[in-house]
Amino acid sequence: MVKVLKILAITFLVLIILFTIYFVIEDVLGGSPKPVIRELGQFFLDNTYNIYYRKWWSGSPETVTAILWDYRGLDTIFETTVLYIAIIGCMVLAYKPLANILKRYEKEKHGLTLIVKTTVKIIIVLIAIVSINLALRGYISPGGGFAGGSAYAIAPLIVIAGYSIYYLLSMGYSLSKSAILRSIGLIVLVIIAVIPLIHLGYILQNQMKTYALFPGYPVKIGPFYIGGTLIFMNIGEFLIVSMEFIMIFILISLYTRGGEES
């Protein structure tokens, strides 16, 4: 019976591959990606970084980040809010005071072998550099706040795996610091979003528009190209996302450990 099922599964997969190849080459079933850009994509390509016609431009050559934080900015703000509220719920459910737990495990030596620990030391530096680079250069190259933040959260994670959660806490990471930093990130987002409103523009305005009085954020400061609001938004989102994931990891690992011991 199992053999029959295996043969059936393999024939099914081979059929799927053949079917996909046929579909791709012959293009007979419905639509397939054509080498022609659709109207919406053409709009963004034409206007995102059009320095000659600035009516709809966003001051950044990275169209994806421009759509996320300028054209569709409110969507991203609401996503960030959902994540923020989810983390508050997680804290309420899983919070326990850290002081007692830390005292109990202070003398214990945890972790894997020396080879793993040395590798972890090298890799966390690389991860930190790459993720901060992703976030800060998100307005000119692929990446951005969410990608950078979630990549940064991997560094404490492999410290927990290679050493222990207590080593991570002795490195200076803590729940309260993470909470403060993520609130700073949220305050950055709010300030950048509200400043145009005070100057008689609309909320989350980035560049000059004909129907709003706000003249727009500067695209260049001195020799540095900053792309309007996008760099600040990316920094704020980086802080929020990375610190929220770190909070979850600290909470989960402490919770697991405490459950085993008690």
């Binding site: 591959i17 996909t20 080459i25 692929p142 979630s150 959260a153 994670l157 795996a161 994931f245 459950g259």
Partner: protein, 85 residues
């Protein structure tokens, strides 16, 4: 030609399908998480082939780093092996 990237995408998505089925069938839950991570790799490369590097970066961090670890923590709170039911 647009055909060759699409063929590569079809291949990668088929691999993802295979590993999804393996992850569902597997009784050892830790192996199932690893199969699921392999499926994430296939999706991430497919996004790269489809010229979506932004999604690729997020998918690598979430699908290979954060998601398996959270599931592993969840498994460590219960049994490792799925019972025949």
């Amino acid at each position: 030609m647009i055909i060759y990237p699409l063929l590569l995408t079809a291949y990668l998505f088929t691999i993802a399908l295979v590993f999804t089925i393996l992850a569902i069938k597997e009784k050892d839950l830790i192996k199932a998480v690893i199969y699921s991570a392999v499926q994430s790799i296939a999706y991430a490369i497919a996004f790269g082939v489809l010229l979506a590097p932004d999604i690729l970066l997020v998918y690598l961090a979430v699908g290979l780093g954060i998601y398996p670890v959270i599931i592993l923590y969840a498994i460590s709170r219960t049994r490792r092996f799925e019972k025949h039911g």
